[in-house]
């Protein structure tokens, strides 16, 4: 290593912070734990794993169907409102799985909204017997799928966007029907993007805590949480996390690999011919509209209406809730975390850019692996680490305990968010950074600009929109995030997400509607702000 400077130091620091939870989980695997683990290993562990797998495959199936079909329709056809649906179909992402789960239950439960509607339309009758119940595993699969199919939708749309018309014309030229072209040409060449989207979906599903907890499904994630909460056995939680991390790691590798392949669809290879979307008329146009509307309705309008209905029905909940405090708390977390994340992402990216060092590149790769860590594991591993640090290092030097500074504090939350969302922020900045030709930096140096001045006067203005995009993306993730906030938040510090969760876990779904509604509205606003960017920039 030729020089050791601030860039190395900060990149090294970031990698260490991100790697700590993984190492903690790994080391815990070899520690002794309560007898509960032995008991569980022989009894429920199989159930946890099989439930997790059923959930993942269910969600993968549904998101594949929804994501790819909607992406195909809006990318290749023009019909009434097709441009609207192009971005409206991302809005489902504003509804976190746990909030979808509350709405689903609220609508279909005995004497729920469906019952009320039927009663008001057709009069008194025991409809409960005939209303399907979407709870348990089915409910969880539906909630998660409608909430996160956007991953598949966005990546597939991006890939379709770059499919050259030549390819499709080639299909026609070979005498393929539209359906055959779809399955023989269009989908296979978008496969890396679809796989990348599905890998993200699988990771999110395995990490999901709120929805599965609400439906009382025992997956690895809920088991990790419960073993900590009920048995106060952190080591055991970490041992369970180890199993989960093995799955996640496999998915992480698949996702990385697919993304690399996905780059092969770059228009820079030449011969790219922009598609003209085929105009649908008559019944076909209506069916395309109907299908997109149905997905849009189910993923977004349905939970919104359900929560709105309850908010209007029980206005007391609205007035009881200290919305101002919740909003301020949420905004505080969002602002602090975004600032820290953006600053460190800049330092790391700039460092890699000016140093051209492989070691630094390696550190960056480690740092961005944090997004694969489920929030529950991350939060608990974080607590384990701080406890260990406090009990050994701090105790050894006879210093004051630092637990209170790092656990149950805003600082602790920001650190955990940092680990979880660093890849989002770092990659977001990186992808824009890579578009700035390095000769521009050199031109600036040759015009007498120092490295700092080049950074401030050339890079920052150029990356303005990407900073905005990344900030909104981080904010969106943070306000949807549940387990980290739930586990690490300071006493009496609530956000919209935790408030909704607490009400729902107390079976007060009507009360959970108000914070949920606010959460979804803010998230929708964020998505609206960046929807153009997602659909356009993602294509680059």
């Amino acid at each position: 290593m030729r020089t050791f400077n601030i860039w190395y130091l900060s990149s090294f620091l970031i990698s260490v912070i991100v790697i700590i939870p993984v190492v903690t989980v790994f080391l815990s695997f070899f520690e002794s734990t309560s007898d509960y683990f032995e008991l569980l290993k022989n009894t429920f562990l199989f159930e946890y794993i099989s439930n997790s797998l059923i959930l993942v495959f269910g969600v993968l199936f549904l998101t594949l169907i929804i994501g790819v079909s909607t992406a195909y329709i809006v990318s290749f056809y023009s019909f009434p409102f097709s441009n609207f649906f192009k971005w409206a179909l991302i809005l489902g992402f504003a509804v976190p799985p746990y909030i979808y789960a509350y709405s689903l239950t609220a609508f279909f439960e005995n004497y729920g909204t469906a019952y009320t509607i039927l009663k008001s339309l057709f009069g008194e009758f025991n409809y409960n017997l005939h209303i399907p119940k979407f709870d348990g595993m089915i409910g969880a699969i539906l909630s998660i799928s409608f909430s996160i199919y956007a991953y598949v939708y966005i990546l597939t749309t991006a890939s379709f966007y770059f499919q050259s018309n030549n390819l499709i014309e080639l299909g026609k030229n070979l005498g393929f029907s539209k359906l055959k072209t779809l399955f023989k040409v269009i989908i296979p060449s978008a496969r890396p993007a679809i796989v990348a989207g599905l890998a993200l979906v699988a990771m999110e599903t395995l990490s999901d805590f709120g929805a599965v907890d609400f439906f009382s499904i025992n997956t690895l994630t809920t088991a990790i949480y419960n073993s900590w909460l009920s048995f106060d056995d952190l080591v055991f939680s970490n041992q369970l996390s180890f199993y989960l991390l093995i799955f996640i790691f496999a998915l992480f590798v698949i996702e990385k690999f697919s993304r690399r392949n996905a780059k092969y669809h770059s228009p820079l290879q030449g011969g790219f011919k922009k598609k003209q979307r085929a105009k649908l008329i008559g019944i076909k146009a209506f069916l395309a509209f109907l299908f997109c509307f149905l997905i849009f309705f189910l993923s977004f309008l349905f939970p919104i209406f359900q929560m709105l209905y309850w908010t209007i029905l029980y206005p007391k909940n609205f007035f009881d809730l200290n919305i101002q405090d919740l909003l301020l708390n949420t905004l505080l977390l969002v602002a602090l975390s975004s600032v820290v994340l953006i600053i460190f992402s800049f330092i790391s990216n700039y460092g890699t850019r000016v140093n051209k060092s492989r070691f630094l590149n390696f550190l960056t790769t480690i740092s961005i692996s944090g997004y694969a860590l489920p929030g529950v594991i991350l939060a608990l591993a974080y607590i384990s680490f701080v406890a260990w640090f406090d009990n050994t290092i701090i105790h050894y030097f006879e210093l004051q305990s630092v637990k209170k500074i790092f656990i149950g504090s805003i600082l602790g939350l920001v650190i955990a968010y940092f680990v979880r969302f660093y890849s989002l922020s770092c990659n977001g900045i990186k992808s824009s950074y890579e578009k700035i030709n390095k000769t521009l930096d050199e031109t600036a140096y040759l015009s007498g600009y120092s490295k700092l001045k080049t950074f401030l006067n050339i890079h920052v203005p150029y990356l303005k929109s990407s900073i905005f995009f990344v900030t909104i993306l981080i904010s969106l993730e943070i306000i949807r995030e549940l387990p980290i906030t739930l586990i690490l938040r300071p006493f009496n510090f609530e956000t919209f997400a935790t408030t909704a969760y607490i009400y729902a876990s107390q079976d007060l779904l009507e009360a959970a509607a108000v914070p949920s509604l606010f959460l979804v509205l803010i998230a929708s606003l964020f998505i609206l702000l960046i929807s153009r960017y997602i659909l356009k920039e993602n294509n680059d």
Partner: protein
């Protein structure tokens, strides 16, 4: 000892740990000289410019500008402190600035240091980019971008200007005019310049001196006329591709003999003993057309080059040689015709290896 303006001594130019040009030495004696570096693609010409600009470090040798050490193994002046301007081959305009702002960027350092800079308006006019000043880089053509980038580099009035293929994207019909204008600007303002190009005609026109880089070495560094007429090695001849080497035997102080062409007269550039077998450089302008000559060769190809035709002729020993004929010449030939060459052949400089 006379102080040299730029002194590059025994430098190994490298990029990414790979040596591109070895043991390179080159001097620019006076301020305002223009040097052109010629060589095939990928040979390391750009690396030389980048190293002089300070964008790459130097592990061996030294680079001095106006007697100040810029680069050596133990010393490296950062690019921003060199007052050297480099115009990159690829478009290096700031995409978020208009062309005007991009050009002004070149003068910022001068404003801070209180150094003189050139009047952008004049250069903008000469390089004919007045109508794109308010546009953004993505709204202009590659040729316009190159001229804008050139303007930005020139206006800063640097101690040393480095131009990497400055006219590669400019339309052929416009190129000559730009070459003339560029030379005028550089000479008027006495801007010492190193230009990297693969176009030998451009180098011969713009450069006070030309350097030919081949096989990791500076093979020849001389005035353009000398590089063209007195190439110092077969490598340079092959690179310039301006003629063929035919076998001949030295028969006298001013003569040699070729089996196909007979007696050839002229002044030897280097001394050769009588009886020595040599390879003689035969350039297209060395031979003259003469229908009445008894030396008749077969025409196997004919290229129209505007002002002249280039005939490719085949000798008895199956060697191809080229001959220029003015396109207004009364008697042109077709492929397969016989083509007469005036005898005895007289070549001003006999370049033999």
């Amino acid at each position: 000892m006379i102080k040299k303006f730029l002194e590059i001594k025994n430098v190994d130019f490298q990029i990414g740990g790979k040596i591109k040009v070895k043991n390179f030495s080159l001097d620019i004696e006076k301020k305002g000289e223009i040097i052109c570096l010629l060589g095939p693609s990928g040979i390391g010409k750009t690396t030389i410019l980048r190293s002089i600009a300070g964008l790459e470090k130097v592990e061996n040798g030294s680079i001095k500008l106006k007697s100040n050490l810029l680069s050596s193994k133990n010393s490296h002046v950062e690019p921003e402190n060199r007052n050297i301007s480099l115009s990159f081959q690829e478009n290096a305009l700031f995409p978020h600035f208009t062309i005007q702002k991009n050009i002004n960027f070149g003068t910022e350092r001068n404003k801070i240091n209180g150094k003189k800079f050139l009047n952008p308006k004049k250069i903008i006019k000469i390089l004919n980019i007045e109508n794109i000043l308010n546009k953004y880089p993505h709204q202009i053509s590659a040729g316009e971008a190159q001229r804008a980038s050139l303007t930005r580099a020139v206006v800063s009035n640097p101690d040393l200007l480095l131009l990497d293929e400055p006219l590669s994207n400019i339309d052929e019909n416009f190129k000559e005019e730009i070459q003339v204008n560029l030379k005028q600007i550089l000479k008027e303002n006495k801007i010492t310049t190193i230009i990297v190009t693969h176009d030998s005609y451009e180098a011969f026109y713009l450069g006070d001196k030309c350097g030919i880089i081949l096989d990791k070495k500076l093979r020849q560094y001389d005035e353009p006329y000398n590089v063209y007429h007195y190439p110092n090695s077969i490598h340079v001849v092959n690179f310039l591709n301006r003629g063929v080497l035919v076998p001949a035997t030295v028969t006298g102080q001013y003569t040699l003999e070729n089996d196909d062409l007979g007696l050839i007269k002229g002044n030897f550039v280097n001394e050769h003993r009588i009886g020595t077998k040599v390879k003689l450089l035969l350039q297209p302008e060395d031979l003259e057309h003469d229908d009445k000559s008894n030396l008749q060769l077969d025409v196997i190809d004919k290229k129209f080059k505007g002002t002249n035709f280039i005939y490719t002729l085949r000798t008895r020993s199956n060697k191809n040689i080229s001959v220029f004929v003015h396109s207004h010449h009364v008697h042109q030939h077709q492929i397969s015709d016989k083509f007469g060459i005036k005898k005895p052949i007289h070549i001003k400089h006999l370049v033999c290896f």
